[in-house]
């Protein structure tokens, strides 16, 4: 208590003694309730059943530690006068950090790519990690696809998973009814998803922002409900099973003489197929990224970005906003279609369960957290989100709570997403990435 009075006497600090005392009593009670039951009593196996030993001393120390810890927090952190920021970062360090971050940003992309390429051959990579990274890459691809619609064209799409579902079901159904192979279905799934992108695009041409979000959300649900109820065709809630696995350009992954292992003189291992899947989704994701980056430099990509910035200005410059919007929906949908057919062939089984709204929300969260329009941001956000889900699997029901909190914190800390810069699609001497925070927002949002 002497410590406390000392600190309250210091100028500029106010320690409300009765309030702190009350808080400490409450803390002690809560700690007693928790640790009193969990630490103070311990069951031991004794002869003829369970015995009970008490450890009141240990429990007391733990409770004391909690109370003292809280007291220290009161003294050193919570007693500052209001209005004074908790920690002041000197401007020099801040700009230095930005400089380092900018340099890191330059090598980050290539470094990630090299890691991704050698990842399956690293000694510690096992089946579990490989499966996880395939999942992460699937979301990276979906994130990049959605980035075209949301990040570049600024059209908020809450039903993106519908295109993913269309891709998955296209492959599954074409394989089931016509016996088409994966490599035939992949482009078909993309085309079908793009086609549905245009179908969705037409009714929402006049809508913006919130209204657009509602209609796209409904579209996602319609697709899912149709898949669920069209029992004869899609199998309804039973889903579709026995979807053929992809072959290595015609060579199946099996034990037989014409199998992948035999032909390449390798010992048969079930991991071959997983590694192939890994490279397949990596290639698909990289194609998505490559195409997006190319499109950004072409008139159509620039038109998407201009549309995000200001639709009226676009119209006044003679852009046909109808076709600009439809191409954005179609291109974004196409990549989701590719990802969907990959998903179907990887799982071997699909049902409408896999295409619920939460998937759309997750993909959108990846795009928004990563920073709208940023390709690298999507990668980081996917690793954090999907990898994070796995890391926190132990936490079970608290997992969503942790994620909710993390997202709130990120949005407070970086309201424009992790990577909030936009690199010009064309420049004279050097790329100058200006933080989006410094630029006023366009009308498109």
């Amino acid at each position: 208590m002497t410590e406390m009075t000392n600190s309250s006497a210091r100028p500029g600090r106010h320690l409300d003694v009765p309030r702190v005392a009350k808080d400490l009593v409450v803390t002690a009670l809560i700690a007693t309730a928790i640790f009193g039951s969990t630490i103070a009593f311990r069951t031991v196996s004794a002869a003829g059943g369970l015995g009970l030993t008490t450890r009141f001393d240990v429990a007391f120390y733990v409770i004391a530690a909690v109370v003292v810890g809280r007291l220290l927090l009161w003294i050193f952190f919570w007693s500052k006068p209001a209005g004074e920021p908790a920690v002041e970062i000197p401007a020099g360090i801040k700009s230095g950090f930005a400089h380092v971050a900018a340099r890191l940003g330059k090598i980050f992309g290539p470094a990630m790519l090299i890691i991704a390429l050698v990842f399956p051959f690293l000694p510690f990579t096992d089946r579990y990690l490989l499966d996880l990274s395939i999942l992460i890459l699937t979301y990276v691809m979906l994130g990049w696809g959605l980035n075209i619609v949301v990040g570049l064209a600024g059209l908020l799409d809450l039903g993106y998973v519908a295109f993913y579902a269309i891709g998955a079901y296209s492959y599954a159904l074409l394989a089931q009814y016509f016996g088409f192979s994966f490599w035939m279905c992949l482009p078909l799934a993309g085309i079908l998803a793009a086609f549905w992108g245009i179908i969705l695009g037409f009714p929402v041409l006049r809508l913006r922002g919130d209204y657009l979000a509602i209609v796209t959300l409904a579209f996602g649900e319609i697709i899912r409900v149709v898949l669920l109820n069209w029992y004869k065709f899609t199998g309804g809630p039973d889903g579709l099973s026995g979807i053929p696995r992809p072959s290595f350009f015609g060579i199946p992954f099996n034990r037989g003489e014409d199998g992948f292992a035999e032909i390449f003189g390798l010992e048969y291992s079930s991991i071959h197929r997983i590694v192939f899947m890994y490279f397949l989704i990596l290639a698909l994701a990289l194609i998505t990224n490559f195409v997006t980056n190319r499109l950004r430099r072409l008139p159509i990509g620039r038109a998407w970005e201009a549309l995000r910035e200001d639709e009226i200005a676009c119209r006044s410059l003679g852009l046909n906003t109808t076709s600009v919007k439809l191409t954005a929906f179609a291109t974004g949908g196409m990549f989701a279609g590719f990802a969907g057919s990959f998903f179907a062939t990887r799982q071997g089984f699909i049902s409408p369960e896999s295409f619920t709204f939460i998937e759309s929300a997750l993909i959108l969260a990846i795009v928004v957290l990563g920073g709208m329009g940023s390709q690298v941001g999507v990668v980081i956000a996917s690793i954090v989100m999907i990898g994070g889900f796995e890391v926190f699997r132990e936490a079970e029901q608290y997992r969503m709570l942790i994620f909710g909190l993390a997202m709130v914190v990120i949005m407070i800390w970086r309201p424009r997403g992790l990577i909030s810069t936009r690199i010009p699609s064309i420049f004279l001497k050097e790329k100058k990435a200006v933080s989006a925070d410094m630029v006023s927002q366009g009308e498109g949002h």
């Binding site: 008139p299 620039r302 038109a303 970005e305 201009a306 910035e309 200001d310 009226i312 200005a313 676009c314 119209r315 006044s316 410059l317 003679g318 852009l319 046909n320 906003t321 936009r422 010009p424 699609s425 064309i426 420049f427 004279l428 001497k429 100058k432 200006v434 989006a436 410094m438 630029v439 006023s440 927002q441 366009g442 009308e443």
Partner: protein, 242 residues
């Protein structure tokens, strides 16, 4: 000056829902002229400007550009006829660079002319050249207005529609902008249709002017005539001259 007008507006009526914004407007812009339309807030000036571009669409009447009826065309088809607009409130693309904004302006024009047009735009507004790789949103208001005009010029327009270029700008910058418009008209013979609230500057600049009140054209004449007119002075110029 040629006899047939480049832009002819005949009895155009425009509605916002049930509210009639334009009540039969008739006017014309001849090739090589600077024509200004002045009027108070809510008179329908910007509506007329937007109706020319097809959004909102004219409910009645005709808009004829270079002998062709454009009343029923889509906005992007109209702009493809080389009518360029610098819209009200500038509406540049804030997160795109000055250069990218100018590229967007050249959407409808032949890429072969791009370099020539770009250097001409930079010549007209040297400030934009300095700011070439800077985000549009970080420019000052005056620079943004220059960018909006330069962007419209990238379409190689035969008719330039300017909607309140002086809005929210310092008097000195307004002067600069108006000088640039004058230069475009003198040197390149560009036809300009200018909507302004800043009646004094606009009428001084323009060959001819129209006055709009509540969706009707109430007066017309040369810039000098309108400047001298008692009514115009009373309504739009009191305290405005400086």
């Amino acid at each position: 000056m040629t006899a047939t007008p480049l832009l002819e507006i005949r009895n155009v009526e425009t509605y916002y829902g049930k509210i009639q914004a334009l009540k039969g407007v008739t006017m014309e812009v001849k090739a090589g002229e600077i024509v200004t339309l002045i009027g108070a807030n809510g008179a329908g000036k910007s509506t007329l400007m937007m109706t020319i571009c097809g959004d909102p669409r004219a409910a009645a009447g005709q808009i004829i550009f270079d002998g062709q009826d454009i009343t029923k065309l889509q906005t992007h088809e109209i702009t493809r006829m080389r009518i360029a607009q610098s819209p009200e409130g500038r509406r540049i693309f804030p997160r795109m660079t000055v250069y990218e904004n100018l590229i967007m302006g050249a959407t409808t024009s032949d890429p072969a002319y791009f370099d020539e047009d770009l250097s001409r735009a930079f010549e007209l507004f040297p400030r934009l050249k300095e700011r070439r790789d800077q985000r549009g949103g970080t420019l000052s208001g005056g620079e943004q207005q220059m960018l909006a005009i330069a962007r419209a010029l990238m379409a190689r327009p035969r008719l330039l529609l300017l909607d309140e270029p002086s809005l929210g700008l310092a008097p000195l910058v307004v002067k600069q902008i108006f000088e640039a418009i004058k230069e475009l008209n003198d040197k390149d013979g560009l036809t300009v249709f200018l909507v302004e609230q800043n009646a004094y500057h606009a009428l001084k600049l323009a060959d001819r002017g129209y006055v709009m009140v509540n969706g009707n054209i109430t007066m017309s004449g040369t810039g000098k005539e309108l400047l001298a007119s008692e009514e115009v002075r009373a309504a739009y110029l009191e305290g405005g001259a400086h």
